[in-house]
């Protein structure tokens, strides 16, 4: 019962926070942090003990009695939500402060709490109807957070796209839960593995939850929404909100039977999302848009784990499936942590320079060393490099896939392209984040605003440091986090109830520790040697040119040019090029822009066709009464005809 009380404390904290959001932001923060801490404790309690908290009330809401339930899988996501909700709230106090945003800051605090509360309810509801209500409220609070800066046109457009996509997904979920309730006779959900007639419903769940998770090609709303939202909102949207889609998929693929093809489809979607997500990211010039595309990539990695685990379960060999699933699940935490860190870092850069355009930044390391260092930590983590957490989860997925191939089962053939493409994704992400760190933080400032950059205060740096520490902790001591992963996996597949950590997980942790220690020591040693030998300063070597300017630095577009060239078939970059002409050319310019291909080439043409058809159909409605009476008569005649013919049969 203790988790129940803790959750009550958490809910009270968040609700009380909402009431003090306008008048007393300090109490808002205190209540929010208290609530987040209580929720985190409850989640750790459930993950640590493996118990299930179950609470029923006879009080009906919408005709259904309230039923709340928290098991290890829900707690796994709740822990991430609590951490990001807390640190994001602290960050917002400085980043979205009342001085700079007098009207939107209080509303931002209210919607922040609403978002947290509703996401937690999504995780807790054990009744389909209430799940849908919570889901809808969560989507709406997300909309109001994205559009905090409503006076800007691009923000409104992004918010509208988010809203439309979100509701398209909700529509699928309505169909899913309604069909589920119709077939089982109850809105309550729980394990129903012995009902093969429920299997086709999986496709509805995939569409609904997939839209929220932002898997390719359902990601169209994601880049603009995450780029236009305030950075702490981007962090929680990328870190937790899209994971709600993953939660839904994991929850219902675990509880309900799935069609035979389901695992394959999820795995293929995962691979496609991973590779194309990072390819699109490479083509972006906007720092936050780039990070948003990386969410698509990481959702892909999570789905590779989930998809192959589903394939394995369908074929009855669960040994390697557990590793793949555990990798995907741990990546939920990892991506939540490092992506939130990166978004907060990007927010810090935006706060200091006023721009998200990478080509206007540069050399920020000197002005904001803490932001730069923490952002680079996040970059190393998201590239899946040791000794940080990104590597641990990808390593688990790899292990599962390698074992699948060694088992030479049905999945073995599919594993080969998956492994190679997962490796390619990692290398592409590395290229992308070398680019980001290099262009934004290294070199010299490219514009006046980058020169005037300043370091953020501790309210912004503190949350980033917390997230960075969490990334390092999972990387250096992965085995400590294994029980949580194992217990949450056991909810998905009860056979894995007592899964011991892979023996080599301890060794990986030890290796990471050695690597981190020795790396730091080596850096210090070389630096000492450099100091001792003496340092002289001069301009960067540019083939003897004595006055290099910041404009001569390599640009983000050039850096990724080779790779975006390879992916030109899908990125379809738009180039505006005025070449040099004549003997004494005066002006030349080149600019490149990577559009959102799926949105502009598929969804918008389809939308315009729908609009044209609707316009044509609208001619039927013109306000002339005589014509309407004619419609009525025709309708009645048709009905009469139908009845007569039906009667004859």
């Amino acid at each position: 019962m203790i988790p129940g009380w803790l959750l009550l404390v958490a809910a009270t904290g968040v609700v009380v926070g909402m009431f003090s959001a306008f008048r007393a932001p300090r109490y808002w923060l205190g209540a929010l942090l208290g609530g987040a801490l209580a929720a985190l404790t409850a989640a750790i309690w459930i993950l640590g003990s493996g118990s299930i908290w179950d609470w029923r009330s006879s009080f009906p809401l919408g005709g259904e009695p309230i039923h709340l339930r928290l098991d290890a899988l829900g707690a796994f996501f709740l822990a991430l939500l609590a951490v990001l909700g807390g640190v994001g709230g602290v960050y917002a106090r400085e980043y979205w402060n009342d001085r700079q945003h007098p009207t939107s800051a209080p509303w931002g605090r209210i919607w922040w709490n609403a978002l947290l509360l509703n996401m937690a309810l999504v995780l807790l509801c054990a009744n389909g109807l209430h799940f849908l209500i919570a889901w809808e409220l969560f989507a709406v609070s997300g909309y109001f957070l994205i559009t905090l800066e409503r006076h800007r046109r691009e923000v409104r457009a992004a918010g509208w796209l988010y809203f439309a996509a979100s509701h398209a997904g909700t529509l699928c979920l309505f169909a899913f839960f309604a069909s589920l309730a119709a077939r089982t006779g109850s809105w309550e959900f729980g394990p129903l593995r012995e009902h093969p007639n429920l299997a086709p419903l999986f496709w509805l769940a995939l569409a609904g939850f997939g839209l929220k998770a932002g898997l390719f090609p359902l990601h169209i709303w994601l880049p603009s929404a995450h780029a236009s939202a305030p950075s702490h909102v981007s962090a929680i949207l990328s870190g937790v909100a899209i994971k709600m889609g993953i939660y839904g998929l994991m929850r219902f693929t675990g509880w309900l039977p799935v069609p035979d093809a389901a695992g394959w489809v999820v795995a293929v979607l995962g691979v496609v999302s991973a590779v194309l997500g990072v390819a699109f990211a490479l083509g972006q010039h906007d720092l936050k848009r780039l990070l948003a595309y990386h969410s698509v990539e990481n959702i892909g990695i999570i789905l590779i784990g989930l998809g192959f685990a589903m394939v394995a379960t369908a074929h009855g060999n669960a040994a390697w499936a557990q590793l793949a699933f555990a990798g995907g699940l741990l990546h939920v935490w990892n991506h939540g942590l490092f992506k939130a860190l990166l978004f907060l870092g990007a927010g810090s850069v935006l706060h200091a320079t006023g721009t998200r355009e990478m080509s206007r930044l540069g050399g920020l390391w000197h002005a904001m060393p803490w932001t730069a260092g923490l952002f680079t930590l996040g970059a190393v983590a998201i590239s899946g490099l040791p000794p940080l957490n990104g590597f641990v989860s990808e390593w688990l997925v790899y292990l599962g896939l390698f074992d699948a191939m060694a088992a030479r089962g049905a999945a073995a053939w599919a594993v080969i392209p998956a492994v190679v493409l997962l490796g390619v994704t990692g290398a592409l992400a590395l290229a992308c984040f070398v680019k980001v760190c290099g262009i934004v933080f290294l070199g010299t400032p490219r514009t006046e605003s980058a020169t005037r950059a300043h370091e953020s205060g501790w309210l912004m740096l503190g949350p980033m440091a917390v997230l960075g520490t969490a990334c390092a902790a999972i990387g250096l001591a992965p085995v400590l986090f294994w029980p949580a992963v194992a217990r949450a996996s056991a909810v998905w597949q009860p056979l894995w109830i007592d899964a011991a950590p892979p023996a080599s997980l301890v060794t990986v942790g030890a290796g990471h520790l050695a690597l981190a220690t020795l790396g730091a020591l080596a850096a210090v040693a070389v630096w000492h040697r450099v100091k001792r030998n003496g340092v002289s300063r001069t301009v960067t070597w540019d083939c003897g040119y004595a006055a290099p300017t910041p404009r001569m630095q390599y640009t983000a577009g050039s850096f990724s040019g080779i790779i975006t060239g390879w992916f030109g078939w899908i990125l379809r970059p738009q180039r505006h090029w005025r070449p040099l002409q004549g003997l004494f050319p005066r002006r030349a310019s080149f600019s490149e822009h990577t559009p959102e291909t799926v949105l502009e080439q598929v969804v918008e043409p389809a939308g315009s066709v729908v609009l044209r058809i609707s316009t044509a159909v609208r001619r039927l409605q013109h306000g002339r009464l005589q014509a309407y009476i004619l419609y009525l008569l025709i309708g009645l005649a048709a009905l009469a005809l139908l009845t007569l013919l039906g009667g004859a049969r």
């Binding site: 030479r408 070398v434 760190c437 290294l442 290796g511 340092v535 001569m552 390879w566």
Partner: protein, 302 residues
């Protein structure tokens, strides 16, 4: 005590023998060209000199410029520790160390490229862009090679994977891995370690602004990487696990020498490729490894 001794011995072998590799390659090149060439130990002299020299830093650089090469060197050393040395085995052998090996090389790449971008030089930007772009293809090839070995040995630990012979696909695997070795170590035909034309280089251009001890660390790391790939190639193809300890060590040393001579011969006889042909050549390496994988699949009797 024996563990510590073993560790020290291993470190000495890797750290002390690595700079021999470029020396041998250069000697072979000189020999083919009919020159006397620099002494085989030239890199040792260079390293000793650089370690004692002062440093010229660009005004644009941050701590990344110094820390990058140091961490990259540690990452390469870590990768070397994961590789089994003939009968000696690896320092740490565990399930999945093959993947850590690949990602340690990636970490070294991240650090080197970041340290290069730190100077804000367009040339170094170019080199870093090429390095990280072409590495995507070579990483795909390495992973395919590892898949092949994993399929044959039914293991994901380098010590077990590298012990048996590569089987029927050995020639394909050797060709693929040798190509990757040339690309990853920036040798002709992908890159020319001798050129001083910044526009055409990959790796050498990334270190233009390094000097003194950091440059020494970079050069030593590069030689370590060459030795690493040579050992990987030799062990992947030859059945060292079946030989007695002494024979295995002898074979390993001999084959690494052969590979070094091979690199030197390739460098003497081939010209550098145009950059647009590099991806094609690396894709060929990937395909070679993929065919080796298919051969291994059939050989195993699915």
């Amino acid at each position: 005590m024996t563990i510590a001794l073993d560790m020290l011995l291993r470190l000495f072998v890797w750290l002390l023998l690595a700079p021999l590799m470029p020396g041998i390659v250069n000697k072979v090149k000189a020999w083919v060209a009919g020159r006397r060439g620099p002494p085989v130990l030239q890199l040792y002299y260079d390293l000793a000199k650089l370690w004692r020299k002062g440093v010229v830093l660009s005004t644009a650089v941050s701590p990344v410029h110094i820390a990058g090469p140091a961490v990259a060197w540690i990452a390469l050393l870590g990768a070397a520790m994961l590789l089994p040395v003939g009968p000696g085995g690896a320092v740490m052998a565990f399930r999945g160390d093959a993947l850590l090996f690949v990602y340690l090389l990636a970490l070294a790449r991240f650090c080197t490229a970041a340290a290069a971008l730190d100077t804000g030089s367009a040339f170094e930007g170019m080199g870093a862009a090429r390095e990280v772009s072409y590495a995507i293809l070579s990483e795909a090839a390495i992973l395919t090679a590892l898949l092949t070995l994993a399929l044959q040995s039914e293991s994901v630990s380098l010590s077990t994977m590298l012990a048996p012979a590569a089987g029927a696909g050995a020639a394909l695997l050797a060709a693929g891995l040798f190509t990757v070795l040339l690309a990853e170590n920036c040798r002709v035909p992908f890159d020319d370690p001798n050129t001083h034309l910044e526009l055409t280089m990959i790796h050498e251009v990334m270190v233009l602004d390094h000097s003194g001890p950091p440059l020494a660390v970079i050069l030593h790391g590069a030689s370590l990487k060459l030795l690493l790939f040579a050992v990987l190639l030799a062990e992947a193809v030859l059945p060292l696990g079946k030989l007695s300890a002494l024979a295995a060590v002898g074979t390993l040393m001999g084959s690494v020498l052969v590979i070094a001579v091979g690199v030197g011969l390739v460098e003497s006889l081939l010209a550098r490729f145009a950059f647009r042909r590099v991806p094609m050549f690396l894709t060929t390496a990937f395909l070679l490894c993929l065919f080796a994988l298919l051969v291994a699949w059939k050989g195993g009797g699915a």
